[in-house]
C-alpha cells in the first residue's frame, strides 16, 4: 500500500503571539516564527503510518511518501515525518505567499500522477489558514472518491478497498471506498483501535495519544539518510496562480490585560452587560 501524505509547516500555535501582519495588511509575515507540522496533517500521517505497518512488531509493510510545498526550510517538516517513520519525501519549492488551496491541490494532483498512490491522506484543514478545502479540491481534480473526517479506517485487501467511519452530528456513517481515494481525518483516528490493516494483530491497541507518534532519536537520525526529492512548480507543470486574492489580514485585538474584581453575582452580570458588553 502506498500513501501520499501532504504535510504543511505552520507557525507553532504555542507562539501564535509572534505572528505579525505586513504593513499593508495583505500578508502574514513569517520572520522569526517557530514552525511545526500542521497538527491535522500529523493525525493523517499517524493514520497512514498505522495503515502501512505491523503495529505490534513495528515492521513496515507499505510506503508513506510525504509532500511539502514551501520554502527550502520546509524540509524540516518532512524530516520530522520521516523521523516518525515515513519512507521518503518530496519538497516542492515555493514561497508561502504564492500558495492557496487551489495551487496546493494542483501540485498534489501532479505528484499523484507520478507516484500513483493508493491513498492521498490530507489533514482536514491547516491550523493557520483554516480553509478546509485542499483535500476536497484535489479529489475533485483527480475524480477520486473522497472521505472527509475519517474517524476509523480498515482494509483487509492491502488497500484495494477501505471501510471508513465518519463522525456526524447525528451519529456515525460507514462507507466503503475503492482506491485510489482521498481521505482527511478527525482526531478520533488517533484512538487506540481506529486503524486496522489486516496485518497488525486484530487485538493490538496503540497507546492513547493526542497527536501523532513521537519521533525517537533513532528515527531522527535515520531520517537524515532518507531521500527527499526537490522539485519546482515548473517541474510539475503547475503555474503558481492563486484563485484567491488575500485582501486583508487583521490580528486579533490586543488583550487589555486589566482585571476587575467584583463582589457579587449581580455586579458581575451588570458589568458583563454594561462594561464588557457581552450580555
Amino acid at each position: 500500500m502506498k500513501i501520499l501524505v501532504p504535510v504543511k509547516r505552520v507557525a507553532d500555535p504555542d507562539n501564535a503571539n509572534k505572528v505579525k501582519v505586513s504593513g499593508d495588511g495583505t500578508k502574514v509575515t513569517s520572520d522569526g516564527l517557530e514552525w511545526k507540522m500542521n497538527p491535522f496533517d500529523e493525525w493523517s500521517l499517524e493514520a497512514a503510518l498505522r495503515l502501512t505497518e505491523n503495529g505490534s512488531s513495528k515492521d513496515r509493510v507499505g510506503e508513506v511518501v510525504l509532500v511539502s510545498i514551501g520554502p527550502k526550510d520546509a524540509v524540516q517538516t518532512i524530516r520530522q515525518g520521516l523521523a516518525m517513520g515515513a519512507e521518503r519525501g518530496i519538497l516542492v519549492e515555493s514561497d508561502d505567499d504564492s500558495l492557496d488551496s487551489h495551487v496546493v491541490a494542483q501540485v498534489i494532483a501532479a505528484i499523484a500522477a507520478e507516484e500513483k498512490p493508493d491513498v492521498i491522506f490530507f489533514g482536514k484543514q491547516s491550523a493557520d489558514g483554516d480553509s478546509n478545502v485542499a483535500g476536497t479540491k484535489l479529489a475533485e481534480m483527480l475524480d477520486w472518491p473522497l472521505v472527509n473526517y475519517a474517524m476509523a479506517i480498515s482494509t483487509d485487501d492491502e488497500g484495494k478497498s477501505f471501510t471508513v467511519k465518519r463522525e456526524l452530528d447525528v451519529g456515525q456513517q460507514t462507507l466503503k471506498v475503492q482506491s485510489p481515494c482521498v481521505f482527511t481525518s478527525s482526531d478520533r483516528i488517533l484512538q487506540p483501535e481506529s486503524v486496522k490493516n489486516g496485518v497488525t494483530p486484530a487485538d493490538f491497541a496503540y497507546p492513547e495519544s493526542e497527536g501523532g507518534r513521537y519521533a525517537s532519536l533513532k528515527g531522527i537520525m535515520k531520517a537524515k539518510k532518507k531521500p527527499v526529492d526537490e522539485k519546482s512548480l515548473a517541474d510539475l507543470g503547475v503555474e503558481a496562480k492563486r484563485v484567491n486574492e488575500y485582501v486583508k489580514f487583521d490580528l486579533p485585538p490586543a488583550r487589555s490585560g486589566s482585571t476587575t474584581f467584583v463582589e457579587s453575582v449581580e455586579e458581575l452580570v451588570q458589568k458583563l452587560h454594561s462594561d464588557a458588553k457581552v450580555l
Binding site: A215, K218, I220
Partner: protein, 381 residues
C-alpha cells in the same frame, strides 16, 4: 540564544518531540505532583514509550542512541515545558545510576538492569552519599565483606534521589582498605533481605522527586552484582561525576531560562503606577542581566559538553560549568521572585518553586566548594 551552539537539525527535531511529551504528560500535573511530593510511576513507562528515557544510551542496552548533547537538549525541553523540576530529576535518576553499569558492567548486568530501566519497567538510583559525609567520597563507610559468592553489606546512604522507589541502587561500598583504593560499585536490589528505606526525606525543593535514606543490614548481594573490578570503584564514580555535573549545569540553565520566561510574561501583564512593569527601565535592565547570565552559563556548559564529547579532559571544566550555572540559576531565580513581588513568594507561582529548586544545585553532585577544590587540582595549584 536559547539553544546550545552545538545543536543541529537533529537536536531541533528532538526538542519538538520532547516538548510534545512534556506538555502533554507533565505540564497539566506539574503543580499537583510537586505538592504531593510524588509523580505517578506510570510516567516511567510513558517516557519509555515516547523513547525519551533511552536518549543517550547505546542501542545494545535498549537505548535510543545519541550522546550527552541529546540528553541535555531533551532535559531542557522537559524542564521548560513540563515546568516541574522535581518530576524531571526523579524521572531522570537513571542518568546517574545507569552509566556505571553501561560503561563497566557485564552483559548480564546490562540485560537485567539497564534494559528494564530504559524500558520504563524498573526505577534506578545512585547511592554514594552517606549520613557521615558526602563531599569526602573516599572516606565512605558502607562495608561490603566477601562471603563465598556474596558480599555482605552493612551501612547506610542518604539523600538518594529516587531511593524510595528504586528497584536497585548503584551503590558505592568499601570492599578494601581505607581511602579511594578500597571502594567498589555494587548493584543492590530492593528485595534483598536487610535492605530498607529508613526515611523519605522532606526537602526545600525538588518536591516531586523522592529522596531517601537507605539502610543495609547484613544484605547479601551476589558477587555477580559487582560493577567492574573490586576496589576500582572510585574511578567509575569520578567518571560518572563528570557527566552528572554537566547535566546539573544544564538543568541550571533550563531552570533559569524558565524563571526568565515566566518573569517576562508576568512583567508584560502586571501594572504598577499606571503602566506595565515592563515599562520601567529598572525592570528591563534586570531582564537584560538575567538573559546575559543565562547566555553565559549556557555557553560555558555547551562548550564543556562539546569538549567532553571530543574526548578532551573535562573534570575541571565540568566543575567550572557547574559553578557558573548554579550561580546564574540562583541569581536569576532570585530576580524572578523579586519581579513577581508578593506573588513570587506564593506557592501557586512557578518562580517560587524554581527559587527553592535552584538552591539544591550548589550542593548536589558535589558542592560549590568541592568544585573549586577540583578546579584547583586540575589547574595544578
Amino acid at each position: 540564544m536559547s539553544t546550545y551552539l552545538f545543536e543541529n537539525d537533529e537536536h531541533r527535531t528532538l526538542r519538538q518531540q520532547v516538548r510534545k511529551f512534556a506538555q502533554a504528560r507533565i505540564l497539566p500535573n506539574a503543580h499537583e505532583w510537586e505538592e504531593a511530593e510524588e509523580f505517578p510511576l506510570e510516567l516511567y513507562a510513558q517516557a519509555a514509550e515516547a523513547e525519551i528515557l533511552g536518549i543517550g544510551y547505546p542501542e545494545e542496552v535498549g537505548g535510543g542512541g545519541g550522546d550527552l548533547s541529546h540528553v541535555l537538549v531533551a532535559a531542557d525541553e522537559m524542564v521548560l515545558h513540563g515546568k516541574s523540576v522535581g518530576t524531571c530529576v526523579g524521572l531522570g535518576s537513571h542518568g546517574i545510576a545507569l552509566p556505571p553499569i553501561v560503561k563497566a558492567g557485564t552483559a548480564e548486568q546490562k540485560e537485567r538492569f539497564a534494559k528494564p530501566v530504559l524500558a520504563g519497567r524498573m526505577v534506578s538510583a545512585l547511592g554514594i552519599t552517606e549520613p557521615g559525609g558526602g563531599s569526602d567520597v573516599a572516606s565512605l563507610r558502607t562495608k561490603a565483606v566477601k562471603d563465598g559468592d556474596h558480599y555482605v553489606v552493612n551501612g547506610s546512604k542518604t539523600f538518594i534521589t529516587s531511593g524510595c522507589r528504586a528497584d536497585f541502587v548503584t551503590c558505592a561500598v568499601r570492599t578494601g582498605g581505607e581511602g579511594h583504593g578500597g571502594i567498589s560499585m555494587l548493584i543492590i536490589e530492593r528485595d534483598t533481605p536487610g535492605f530498607s528505606v529508613s526515611k523519605k526525606l522532606h526537602k526545600m525543593g525538588w518536591w516531586a522527586s523522592d529522596t531517601a535514606e537507605l539502610s543495609f543490614e547484613d544484605c547479601r548481594v551476589p558477587v555477580t552484582n559487582l560493577i567492574g573490578q573490586e576496589n576500582q570503584g572510585f574511578l567509575i564514580i569520578m567518571q560518572n561525576f563528570v557527566t552528572e555535573r554537566l547535566m546539573l549545569a544544564a538543568q541550571c540553565v533550563s531552570i533559569a531560562e524558565l524563571a526568565y520566561r515566566e518573569t517576562l510574561a508576568y512583567v508584560r501583564e502586571r501594572q504598577a503606577f499606571g503602566k506595565k512593569l515592563m515599562g520601567f527601565q529598572v525592570t528591563r535592565h534586570k531582564l537584560a542581566d538575567m538573559r546575559t547570565r543565562i547566555a553565559a552559563a549556557r555557553a560555558l556548559t555547551g562548550e564543556c559538553v562539546t569538549r567532553f564529547l571530543r574526548g578532551e579532559p573535562a573534570i575541571g571544566e565540568a566543575a567550572m560549568a557547574k559553578n557558573t550555572a548554579t550561580d546564574a540559576c540562583m541569581w536569576v531565580c532570585d530576580q524572578a521572585v523579586q519581579l513577581h513581588g508578593g506573588y513570587g513568594y506564593m506557592r501557586e507561582y512557578v518562580v517560587e518553586r524554581l527559587f527553592r529548586d535552584a538552591r539544591l544545585y550548589p550542593i548536589g553532585g558535589g558542592t560549590r566548594e568541592i568544585m573549586n577544590e577540583i578546579i584547583c587540582k586540575t589547574s595544578g595549584f
